[in-house]
């Protein structure tokens, strides 16, 4: 490092002004310790759809504590804070000595590119086996053998077989073809696939030592909301989740937003408890939640109250957008050689976010967006309007028991006038 000569003023390292703020805005920054990360979380005080009900994580944790084996779903749009709610639920469940908790991200156990029934069930079984070993010591032979078999089914194995194919087997025409004749009674959910049922049995064996000790077992699966397509999520639920039913394992899963608007009402039909996180309230008179998230990260030391308000408002109540706007504004201020985040930096961040939302929005969707702005009309039933919801160009809100839709405020800022 260069030595300062006499009379030369030390130039402050401006990185040290902005870097801690940027790290606190980045929820996955490895530079934040667990304690720091926890201190940054602003717990919602109540259910976002009903201020008289407890917060979602409180409701989930209480249900898991009192009703073992229930299955719960959390639905919300991209960046709405589902992972935070699930982590808060996990945090509360951890306070019990007998609690066995597994937190999985769906992307860790399957590619999603094709339906893969049994993958989630296998991942749950292997994780629970690891937990059981850690807590209860070496498992019985029966449990170990179930885990070995499960691992083989989950990860595959290589075997050598003698080639004994004999075409004469088929030479006399004595072979049979399976034909399925559908019955009159339509089952509520399709049958479990043979492989899924087999994995379910192995899971039962793995669970047995924990259940003998009356453990409270909860599995939280995040990331299924990234499936987007309701049918794909439904396949997971109908196979993997259903195979867990009756095993006294509580399941909490993140579900894609479109399930909330699915005409089949599968979510409400299948799950015991369903909660929805709409976009957060942006009006500071109604709620100080968004402001508190920014203040907890030190925003008030770097920007004015007006800038904080702008970021809250133009985030549309999407928590990830709130953090992104603050992060971009801080980086622009740094590049601009400033020590504080000014109005122009926030405005530039809003335009950038708006342009992201504008990308790929074709004529039909623009018409839907303009109609919503002009006439306050939006129906989440057509493929185009569902796309707008999934992509967050249109946000769903709930206030005083009334649901309504608005165009993302950052998108409105950059939406060109119709020709």
């Amino acid at each position: 490092m260069a030595q300062l000569t006499k009379g030369e003023a030390a130039t402050p390292d401006r990185r040290q002004i902005f870097r801690p703020f940027l790290e606190r805005l980045n929820s996955i920054s490895p530079n934040n310790s667990v304690a720091e990360r926890n201190s940054l979380i602003v717990s919602p005080k109540s259910d976002p759809r009903d201020p008289d009900q407890p917060a979602i994580h409180e409701a989930f944790a209480t249900t898991a504590e009192l009703n073992r084996g229930v299955q719960m779903a959390l639905v919300g749009g991209i960046g709405s804070g589902e992972t935070t709610e699930l982590l808060l639920t996990l945090g509360r469940l951890k306070s019990h000595d007998d609690a066995v908790n597994v937190f999985l991200d769906a992307a860790e156990f399957t590619d999603f590119s094709e339906t893969n029934p049994g993958a989630m069930l296998s991942a749950i079984g292997l994780n629970l086996f690891a937990q059981s070993n850690k807590r209860l010591g070496k498992a019985s032979e029966e449990v170990q053998s179930a885990a070995v078999k499960l691992r083989e089914l989950a990860l595959g194995k290589t075997e050598w077989h003698d080639q004994d194919y004999d075409s004469s087997d088929y030479a006399d025409g004595d072979y049979r073809v399976q034909v399925h004749v559908p019955g009159l009674m339509k089952p509520r959910f399709p049958e479990l696939k043979e492989r899924v049922a087999e994995i379910g049995d192995l899971l039962t064996a793995i669970l047995s030592p924990m259940l003998e000790r009356d453990s409270q077992i909860t599995v939280i699966v995040d990331g299924l909301d990234r499936l987007i397509e309701p049918t794909r999520f439904r396949e997971f639920a109908e196979q993997d989740l259903r195979a867990v039913r009756g095993k006294r394992v509580t399941m909490i899963v993140a579900a894609p937003l479109l399930m909330w608007y699915d005409d089949s009402r599968f979510l409400q039909d299948y799950f015991d408890v369903v909660r929805h996180i709409p976009a957060a309230e942006t009006d500071p008179k109604e709620s100080g939640f968004l402001k508190e998230i920014l203040k907890r990260r030190g925003a008030n030391k770097l920007m004015s109250a007006a800038s904080i308000n702008d970021i809250c408002q133009f985030s549309g109540g999407v928590l990830r957008d709130l953090l992104e706007l603050a992060q971009s504004a801080a980086q622009y201020a740094y590049l601009d050689s400033g020590d504080r985040i000014e109005h122009r930096h926030v405005q530039a961040a809003i335009r950038q976010l708006g342009n992201r939302y504008l990308a790929g929005v074709g004529g039909t969707r623009r018409r839907l967006i303009r109609r919503l702005i002009r006439d306050k009309q939006f129906w989440p039933h057509s493929a185009e309007s569902k796309d707008l919801l999934v992509n967050r160009q249109v946000l769903e809100y709930s206030r005083h028991g009334r649901d309504y839709f608005l165009v993302h405020p950052a998108l409105i800022q950059v939406l060109p006038e119709p020709a």
């Binding site: 401006r14 990185r15 980045n26 590619d111 992104e324 740094y334 342009n355 790929g360 967050r392």
Partner: protein
């Protein structure tokens, strides 16, 4: 149609520097035409000079074929979308939460058409972008800024 802020490799790397190389982030950089190679070279030089690390460059075709190796050496990774690969984009979208979970920064370099398709068709990935810039070579703005 899309009018994102312009940035040069020098300014972009300076911005990465303030976040710290261990502060995970994903950026989408839009660059058209023959300047792609120049951009890659400028980014490599600036990363070495300003951050003291290297930038590992792969094409999207290579990533689709070989996968994106995990990184834990603090290096920055760049994927240049040499072709539109819906399979890769869909996989990146579904696994967006895990792309930089080990730390490190990921830069995606694409032309305007591919960038627009990516922003429109990969909502999970888009929501995790730290920013989107149109990147232009350093020489477009004259001498290297002090």
């Amino acid at each position: 149609m899309m009018e994102f802020e312009e940035v040069t490799p020098f300014r972009l790397v300076r911005s990465l520097g303030v976040s710290g190389t261990r502060n995970p982030a994903i950026y989408l950089l839009i660059c058209d035409g023959p300047s792609v190679l120049e951009i890659e070279q400028d980014l490599s030089t600036e990363t070495e000079v300003q951050l003291g690390t290297v930038i590992r460059i792969s094409t999207a075709s290579e990533v689709l074929r070989d996968g994106l190796p995990a990184w834990d050496d603090g290096s920055t990774r760049l994927i240049y979308f040499d072709r539109w690969l819906p399979k890769l984009v869909a996989a990146m979208d579904r696994h967006s939460a895990l792309l930089v979970q080990d730390g490190g920064q990921l830069l995606m370099l694409a032309d305007k058409k591919f960038a627009e398709r990516l922003l429109g068709g990969a909502p999970n990935l888009r929501s995790r972008l730290a920013d989107v810039f149109q990147i232009i070579p350093d020489k477009s703005l004259g001498a290297r800024p002090a």
